[in-house]
């Protein structure tokens, strides 16, 4: 089975890119495995076009959920081996990693596994890079650099929202970090032309502080239950993104409102227009009214207490 690993930093556009590829009919027969660092999955709801989808939530596949990933892939390999080779079998797997994963570590886990090594060939490592925040991540996040360095193919996303000069500098920097990778551009998954970066100077990247100095980025789950109305929630979240946008790397989740099921997604200070998700039959809306905040520099409990304060504010 050929494996495509899709990596990239938090909010860099992995799911959006994959969703469009599936829509276009790429990876049509592939089995899609989605890994999310937080226990509350969101991305699987967006990848409805995959012919088969497996979800690995509650840990990053390159570290804490590595064994779970290996077990899942072994099960897939095992099931495939039981099927007669003349009938259609899974020949391709797309693994969408969590934004906190190192694709290199995942590939190593597969290559060193005595069973998987006979079943899985790593075809390509695709890494998405956000044109808006990519340079900042390269400057400050060791993980962001390691993700770029292992890629076979880099996809620069959101180029329509970034300034051309900044995109050029990012491209030149990417070329310097990983000269072997092919680089292409994408906006909402559709391929776009990239500006010519031959005259742009790459960014001189500073030595990055290690994770130990800055503290690791961690996910926090928050229930937005009946006690929190949309008004107080939106006041709270917009204030949080304004004040702590540099520490809060990613926010995502589905919140039920009078206007429908809203998919909220923020990357640092930038909030996307919420997508209105279709209603699901009972029992499948399990991830509703829960958001995941991924960041550092605060106590997880403070998020909850602060949201509760905002929900109560003005009611007395």
């Amino acid at each position: 089975m050929r494996l495509t690993v899709l990596g990239g930093y938090l909010g860099s556009g992995k799911t959006t890119w994959l969703r469009h590829q599936l829509h276009e009919g790429q990876f049509r027969d592939a089995l899609v495995v989605v890994n999310e660092a937080a226990g509350t999955p969101v991305d699987d709801a967006l990848l409805g076009r995959a012919s088969r989808l497996e979800l690995l939530a509650g840990g990053c596949a390159c570290c804490e959920a590595r064994e779970a990933l290996v077990a899942l892939l072994r099960r897939i390999a095992d099931e495939r081996s039981r099927i007669d080779s003349r009938t259609a079998r899974v020949d391709r797997i797309v693994l969408e990693t969590s934004g906190l994963a190192e694709p290199g570590a995942i590939v190593e886990a597969i290559r060193t596994d005595p069973v998987l090594v006979y079943h899985i060939v790593v075809g390509e490592i695709v890494v998405t890079v956000d044109a808006l925040h990519g340079l900042a991540e390269l400057r400050g996040e060791p993980l962001g650099r390691r993700q770029i360095e292992v890629a076979d193919r880099l996809i620069v996303t959101k180029t329509d929202e970034a300034e051309s000069a900044a995109t050029k500098r990012l491209l030149a920097t990417l070329r310097g970090l990983n000269p072997g990778a092919t680089i292409s551009g994408a906006v909402r998954g559709s391929e776009v032309a990239l500006p010519d970066c031959s005259d742009a100077a790459p960014e001189r990247l500073p030595d990055v502080p290690s994770d130990a100095e800055k503290g690791p980025v961690f996910p926090t789950k928050l229930d937005v239950d009946g006690s929190v109305d949309w008004a107080s929630f939106s006041v709270w979240l917009s204030a949080l993104l304004h004040a702590r946008g540099d520490d809060i790397v990613r926010v995502k989740g589905v919140v039920r409102t009078p206007a429908g099921r809203l998919l909220l997604q923020a990357v640092r200070k930038v909030m996307q227009s919420p997508e209105i998700l279709p209603e699901q039959p009972d029992g499948e809306g399990r991830q509703d009214n829960r958001i995941v905040v991924i960041g550092r520099g605060y106590e997880p409990d403070d998020l909850r207490r602060s949201l509760d304060y905002f929900a109560r504010a003005g009611k007395i």
């Binding site: 076009r49 006041v235 204030a239 004040a243 409102t257 206007a259 227009s273 207490r305 504010a313």
Partner: protein, 99 residues
């Protein structure tokens, strides 16, 4: 850009996405003003949204005023007026006790 592989996005500023019909929108504005008033008070600021004209009025106790179009702008304006960002993780909001 492809518009067909996703779900429809809510129009306008994201903080307005939670209300679909006009009555709900108005209710949302009043409730939002109520929350803002209570939160900004701690920073010596006032908030007002009468529901008649667009925007949220933010003022200081000494009389300076500014109008913010949406919630994202409210925090920018508030920061300019009081000289520091309004931080929801400030101990005054995370401490125990009702407002």
């Amino acid at each position: 850009m492809c518009a067909s592989c996703g779900f429809p996005a809510a129009p306008g500023h994201w903080t307005d996405a939670g209300a679909a019909d006009p009555a709900e929108r108005l209710r949302n504005r009043f409730r939002r003003a109520q929350v803002l008033k209570s939160v900004l008070k701690a920073y010596g600021l006032t908030a007002h949204d009468g529901g008649q004209v667009p925007g949220i009025q933010i003022g200081t106790l000494s009389g300076s005023q500014a109008i913010a179009r949406d919630l994202a702008e409210v925090w920018k304006v508030a920061e300019e007026l009081c000289g520091r960002p309004v931080d929801p993780l400030d101990p005054r909001f995370t401490g125990v006790g009702a407002p």
